[in-house]
C-alpha cells in the first residue's frame, strides 16, 4: 500500500515527460520511417553499372534504426536526464526531501519507488512506440527484406541507455560534493558507459557493459541515498 502510493506519486511526476517522449517519438520516428518506406522501392537498383568495380557503399543498407534510431536514442537519453533531474535534483531545490523522507517506510523503499517508477516510465512510454514502429517496418508491403531481431533488440538497448543516463543524473544529484570535484562524476560515468556501449559490436559486449555499469551506479545510488544527509 505504502510502496504503491509512493510509486503512484513518482509515476504521476514522470507522466508529462513520458507522454511528451512517446508523442515526439511516435510523430517523428513514424514520419521518417514512413518516408524511408516510400523511397524503399528505388533504393536497391539502378546504381550498379555493368563492367565496373562496385564500391561497397552501394551494397550496404541501413536498418530502420537509421531513421528512428537517433530519435529513440536522444529521446531516451533526454527522458533519463529529465527524470533524474525531476526526481533527485528538484527536491534539492524545493527542499522537499525532509517531507518525503519522514515517512513510515524505510529510505530504501522510497528509493525503490523512484527507480521502479522510472523503469516503468521508460517501458510504457518509448517501448510500445518502438514495438509499433518495428512491427510496421516488418510488414512485407513496407520493406521488402524483413528487419532482423537484432534491430529490435538494438532499439531496446537505446531505451536501456536512457536508464543509464537517468542513474548517472540521480547519482550526481545525490552527491554532496562540490561541482568542481566529484559531483558530476555520476553523469560522466554514464557518458563513458554510453560511449563504450555504442562502440561495441557484439550484443554480449553491449549487455555486459550495460549490466556492469547499471550495477555500479545502482550500488552507489543506494549507498549514497541511505547514508546521505538531507
Amino acid at each position: 500500500m505504502r510502496f504503491s502510493k509512493l510509486l503512484r506519486k513518482e509515476l504521476r511526476e514522470c507522466l508529462p515527460w513520458m507522454l511528451l517522449a512517446a508523442i515526439v517519438f511516435f510523430a517523428f520516428g513514424g514520419f521518417f520511417l514512413r518516408a524511408e518506406a516510400y523511397f524503399e522501392s528505388d533504393r536497391h537498383y539502378s546504381r550498379l553499372s555493368p563492367g565496373t568495380a562496385v564500391d561497397y557503399y552501394w551494397l550496404t543498407y541501413y536498418s530502420i534504426l537509421n531513421v528512428t534510431g537517433p530519435w529513440l536514442f536522444f529521446l531516451s537519453i533526454g527522458l533519463g536526464l529529465v527524470l533524474g533531474v525531476r526526481q533527485f535534483w528538484i527536491p534539492n531545490f524545493t527542499r522537499t526531501w525532509p517531507f518525503l523522507l519522514h515517512r513510515s517506510v524505510s529510505r530504501k523503499t522510497i528509493l525503490a519507488a523512484k527507480l521502479t517508477a522510472t523503469m516503468i516510465a521508460f517501458v510504457i512510454s518509448l517501448g510500445p512506440v518502438w514495438v509499433g514502429l518495428y512491427w510496421y517496418a516488418s510488414r512485407p508491403e513496407v520493406f521488402a527484406v524483413p528487419q532482423t531481431l537484432r534491430v529490435f533488440i538494438e532499439g531496446w538497448i537505446f531505451i536501456m541507455l536512457g536508464l543509464v543516463a537517468y542513474l548517472g543524473t540521480a547519482l550526481s544529484a545525490l552527491s554532496t560534493a562540490n561541482w568542481y570535484t566529484t559531483k558530476i562524476f555520476g553523469l560522466l560515468l554514464a557518458t563513458v558507459i554510453i560511449v563504450t556501449t555504442l562502440s561495441q559490436w557484439t550484443l554480449a559486449g553491449i549487455f555486459t557493459s550495460i549490466a556492469v555499469s547499471v550495477a555500479i551506479l545502482l550500488v552507489q545510488i543506494f549507498d549514497t541515498f541511505l547514508r546521505r544527509e538531507f
Partner: protein, 307 residues
C-alpha cells in the same frame, strides 16, 4: 511508557570545520510543549534534523521515543509528526491528493474528520493546488497533515515563519487543539518568542551550538531579571552580586541583568551598595531571551553617552 520522548547525549555536529551543535545533552519529557529557541545560526534546525535522523552526528547520540535517531524504524516514524522548515510540500499536488498520499502512511491512525475540520477551519478547499497557496495557507496544510495522524510527538521547525499575526494565531490555536489530547508532546522551534510564551510550558535555548537552557518556561522567566538601580552619587565600581549576566553603567544608574538571583538578594545588595532605589523591570520572554543570549558583559552595543 517511558517519560522521556527525546534524549540526546553529547550530540555534536560539524559542517566541514564549523561546529554547529556542541555536545548537546537534552531530555524532553512526555506531554509538554517545548519551545526550542536560539538566535540565527544557533543550530536549531541542525539539532532537529539530527534528532529526526536526517543528519548524521559527528559525535554523540540521540534517541527519539526510545529509538536511535540514525535508525528510526518506520513504526517509530509513524508516531512522529514533522512540520518542515518553510512548509515544503509537493507543489503539483492538491490538498486532497496530499491528504491521500499522507494517509497511506498512517492507515490506522489517520483522522479523516480531523483533517477535514482543520481544512475547513482554515477556509481551504481540497481541490486547491499547493503551488497556488500562500505561505500561510501552506503552513496550515502542513500542520493539518502533521496533526491528522494523531502523532505522539510533533516536531515543528519554525512553523510560523513568514506568517502574519492572524495566521500565526490560528496556527497556534490548532496546536493547542492538539495538546488538549492526552500524552502528546510538541517540540517546536521559533524566532517569535511571543508564540513560545503563549503556548510553551518548557523552553530550550541553544546559543552557538551550545545548550544554554533547558527548563520550564516558568523557571526561565522567573530566573532572568533586569534591575535598574539609582545612586545619589556615583555608581559603585564593584558589582559583587551573584548571577550578573550583563551590567550597564551610566552616571548615576546601574542596569543589571541577573540570572537566578532572588528578590531578597537583590534588595540586600542594593542596600549594601548604597542605591537610592531600585526597580525590577518586568520583561517579556523576548526581552529575557535577548538578554540571555546577548554577547559578553563588557561588550557595549550602543554607546549612549557618546551620542
Amino acid at each position: 511508557m517511558n517519560n522521556i520522548v527525546l534524549k540526546t547525549k553529547g550530540l555534536t555536529k560539524y559542517y566541514g570545520g564549523t561546529l554547529a551543535v556542541d555536545h548537546m545533552d537534552l531530555e524532553i519529557p512526555r506531554g509538554c510543549i517545548c519551545g526550542f529557541v536560539g538566535r540565527n545560526g544557533a543550530g536549531k534546525t541542525t539539532a532537529i534534523k539530527l534528532m529526526l535522523g536526517l543528519l548524521n552526528p559527528t559525535a554523540g547520540s540521540s534517541r527519539l521515543l526510545g529509538c536511535d535517531s540514525s535508525a528510526l524504524t518506520p513504526a517509530i516514524r509513524q508516531r512522529i509528526g514533522y512540520v518542515t522548515e518553510g512548509h515544503r510540500l509537493f507543489r503539483w499536488m492538491n490538498i486532497g491528493g496530499l491528504e491521500k498520499f499522507q494517509r497511506a502512511f498512517f492507515p490506522k491512525q489517520w483522522d479523516d474528520r480531523f483533517f477535514a475540520d482543520m481544512i475547513e477551519y482554515f477556509e481551504l478547499s481540497k481541490k486547491q493546488k499547493i503551488k497556488h497557496l500562500s505561505n500561510g495557507q501552506r503552513a496550515q496544510v502542513s500542520l493539518a497533515l502533521a496533526l491528522a495522524p494523531n502523532p505522539e510527538l510533533l516536531i515543528m521547525d519554525d512553523p510560523t515563519l513568514g506568517l502574519d499575526a492572524a495566521i500565526r494565531r490560528q496556527f497556534l490555536e490548532g496546536m493547542i487543539e492538539l495538546i488538549m489530547r492526552q500524552g502528546r508532546t510538541v517540540l517546536f522551534s521559533s524566532h517569535i518568542l511571543g508564540d513560545v510564551e503563549r503556548v510553551s510550558d518548557r523552553i530550550v535555548v541553544i546559543d552557538k551550538g551550545v545548550l544554554r537552557a533547558n527548563c520550564s518556561l516558568e523557571q526561565f522567566q522567573k530566573a532572568i531579571k533586569k534591575v535598574i538601580l539609582s545612586f545619589a552619587d556615583s555608581v559603585p565600581d564593584l558589582v559583587n552580586i551573584d548571577g550578573v549576566l550583563h551590567c550597564k553603567r551610566s552616571e548615576k544608574q546601574l542596569e543589571l541583568t541577573l540570572v537566578g538571583t532572588d528578590d531578597e538578594k537583590i534588595s540586600e545588595w542594593a542596600k549594601s551598595a548604597g542605591a537610592e532605589n531600585y526597580n525590577i523591570i518586568k520583561m517579556n520572554l523576548e526581552d529575557q531571551f535577548i538578554e540571555f543570549t546577548a554577547p559578553a558583559n563588557d561588550r557595549r552595543l550602543f554607546q549612549w553617552e557618546e551620542r
